[in-house]
Symmetry: C2
Subunit: 131 residues, 2 copies
């Protein structure tokens, strides 16, 4: 349970790649061999093996070799780790925004907008206000 930062690192890192996400999607339907995972993915089998290794290192996937085929399966606990991290921050933000919303009720013509403090006295030249 220690070292959650590095864990989150590896999980989000693993989820970054679209190919790996598509493997996760495939695996959420049920276990699959490496070749099955490779099939829809225009890249070499070796590349897919490497992706599987990343997924395993992150804990998102477990695998087991039987005969000559390696069967991969999802470990939902790892998904939960990432999901909780996001969820906790999101609820925090939303609660804060809700409180702010009911406190301000309505103030300016902007209904749902910027939660800043001061009335922004702007400078004359304003090369890029929002991004």
């Amino acid at each position: 349970m220690l070292n959650q930062v590095a864990d989150l690192d590896r999980v989000f890192q693993a989820l970054t790649d679209p190919g790996r996400r598509s493997m996760i999607e495939r695996l959420s339907q049920g276990p699959a061999s490496v070749s099955e995972l490779a099939r829809p993915l225009s890249m070499s089998l070796a590349a897919v093996v490497q992706h599987v290794q990343v997924l395993e290192a992150s804990g998102l996937v477990r695998s087991q070799k039987t005969g000559r085929t390696r069967t991969c399966a999802i470990n939902p606990a790892a998904l939960r780790t990432a999901e909780s991290w996001i969820s906790e921050r999101r609820t925090l933000v939303e609660r804060r925004l809700d409180r702010l919303g009911e406190y301000l009720a309505e103030t300016a013509g902007v209904p749902d907008a910027w939660p800043a403090g001061q009335p922004p006295r702007r400078s004359s030249s304003d090369p890029e206000e929002n991004r």
Copy 2:
């Protein structure tokens, strides 16, 4: 709403970096300037600006410049995007595993373990069974 793949890419990509996650954590308490975000993060201000740019490109953060300071705030919608993706896959997996569990009830001595199909007849030399 199109191009969700690229969106997810950018969001997970943004969440990969521990520095950026710590900025998200700070921002979930409320808006902050770039310098405030930089304070606890032993790295140059320029580096932090670059991280903020990544966060903005992902949609996780919005910012607005007033005077000489840029104020950053979280956009919870982007958090929801990532959270839903994970959540959907996780529930899928868990439901499948539940069905499987009640179907098998108990079969072998392993209570909560491998959801494979065949009784794995193993080969004699088995250099690395699981990873």
